[in-house]
Amino acid sequence: MALLELRKLTRRFGDFSAVDNVSLSIESGEFVTLLGPSGCGKTTILRMIAGFDLPDVGQILLDGSNIADIPPEKRPLHTVFQSYALFPHMTVADNVAFPLRMAHFDKAAIAAKVHEALESVYLSDRARAYPHELSGGRKQRVALARSLVNRPRLLLLDEPLAALDAKLREEMQHELIDLQREIGITFIFVTHAQDEALALSHRVAVMNRGRIEQYDEPSKIYGFPRNRFVADFIGNTNLLEVAVTEATPTHLRLAAAGLGDIVSPPREGTRAGQKGWFSVRPEQVRIGGHLDGELENHYSGKVRSFIYVGDVTTYTVELADGTAIEALLSNSAPGRARFFEVGDDVAVGWPHDAGVFLHD
């Protein structure tokens, strides 16, 4: 049985549905991320799971039973708030001890657990400090220790890394992964940063306007986006408007306006005559002076611009009809940071098994 199950959850504010018919099932021990642009309803979902808000429609099941009537303090789960929400009048140690006091542990047990929890986030030496004396990263660690100290079944994290700088963020990402693996507590993590979602999670629920667009493993989300929104939101992609001219169990043949034919992998439920979109990632696109006949899909054009970012260079190639295709070239060979100059005549192409056809 799933640890947590959201069944057709809807939350309206006036006429506006902040959360719209969301169903989601989370297994025990999983690290699940809700990913979506700001305002898509992520926080509202967490608030309903934590008990600070109630759904207008739908149910939240924990271990198979509805928790609608259980107040926040009785739910076996904790939240790490975006603002950390540390108690400013309590020391670090007292903050961490708070959930244990509420659960009526005796003094000795509290001291031992607090010590252990602070150790696990490398803050034993700051036990007597007050929150305002700590840096953002350390406040974050205290908040984590505080919500994990009495071992909840489920931890909700609302954009916990958003306020940290890039370097610290990456460090905390590694710590989070390790921590979650070590203690085996189920995490529901909220973020609007796609790289973070892909890096951390077992499964990602991509959200848009209160709905879940796709719920899958990171590699599936990235490699097989279900629709245009997901393809576009996760990573970079080339999106081409196409019509299906041939649909067989082994391949699709697509007609792209101005570009010509594209051969792409098959997709269930696709029929000739359908219109839709073709998405191919820049790293799947090859670029060369002239591409040999091995690639089913190849087109010639001119280099319009390129962006060199150290490890890779992204070329934007303008095809004869004006379509721009991005191609990514690795710079692993030293001294060969650039292969092409702006204005060079080049060809771009990709194999028949690259890219996906999207219905909408």
Binding site: F52, H78, T79, S83, L86, P88, F98
Partner: protein, 264 residues
Amino acid sequence: MRRNPLWLWAAALAAYAFLYLPLLIVVLYSFNDSRLNAEWVGFTLHWYSELFNDANMLIAARNSLLIAATASLAATLLGTLAGLAIHRYKLRILPVLAITPVAMPEILLGVSLLLFFNLVFRPWLGLELGMWSVIVAHITFCIGFVTIVVRVSLLGMDESIFEAARDLGATPWQTFRLVTFPLILPAVMAGALMSFSLSLDDFVITFFTAGVGVSTLPLEIYSMIKIAVTPEVNAVSTLLMLLTLGMIVLASRIHGKAVRSIGV
């Protein structure tokens, strides 16, 4: 222009002189060894000892302290609850209603309270004006101050702190006791001290609601200066001033932001 122009300094100096010179004179003459507030004769503490032998003055002082203590205690309790309620339920109109008595001309409040007591309390409860009516009147004008100070302190807080407490296992009551109350305590204390000094100083509203027979320090001073501004008046004024000043300084030490926000 980097340097502060001289005239600005002069203007500031003049403004402060305007505010504090009269007070300074009162303090000075309370130590003057002469019956008349005219020329400086010499230093004495005689008027202070006179004060502590004046039975009327002592009764007035006792009344004043009793009224201030009771009224500020009750106003702090009610005002804190009102501040919490306004914040919790996000009521737009209530803050205005709480401020109104604070901003209303005192004489209006005094007159309306007198009417109210005479129309309601006297006929229905058989109570004559006295200590109780002064206390009720003082509670009325102090509540607003406490409410505002408490509300301002709540406005500055991160709402998720209270949710975090619930989230970590605290009941609503535990959340109040362990998180909300300790956090608003400085504001509550500041409100209490301000109420105390406001009540201690009040003349107008007390004048209307005291009836006959109850005297407070401000009323006593007033009845004395009807004859002449004696050195005893200077002495008692100095003491009153000192007490008030101490309260305000203490209040703003405890919770400067909230106190300043209402401009006391």
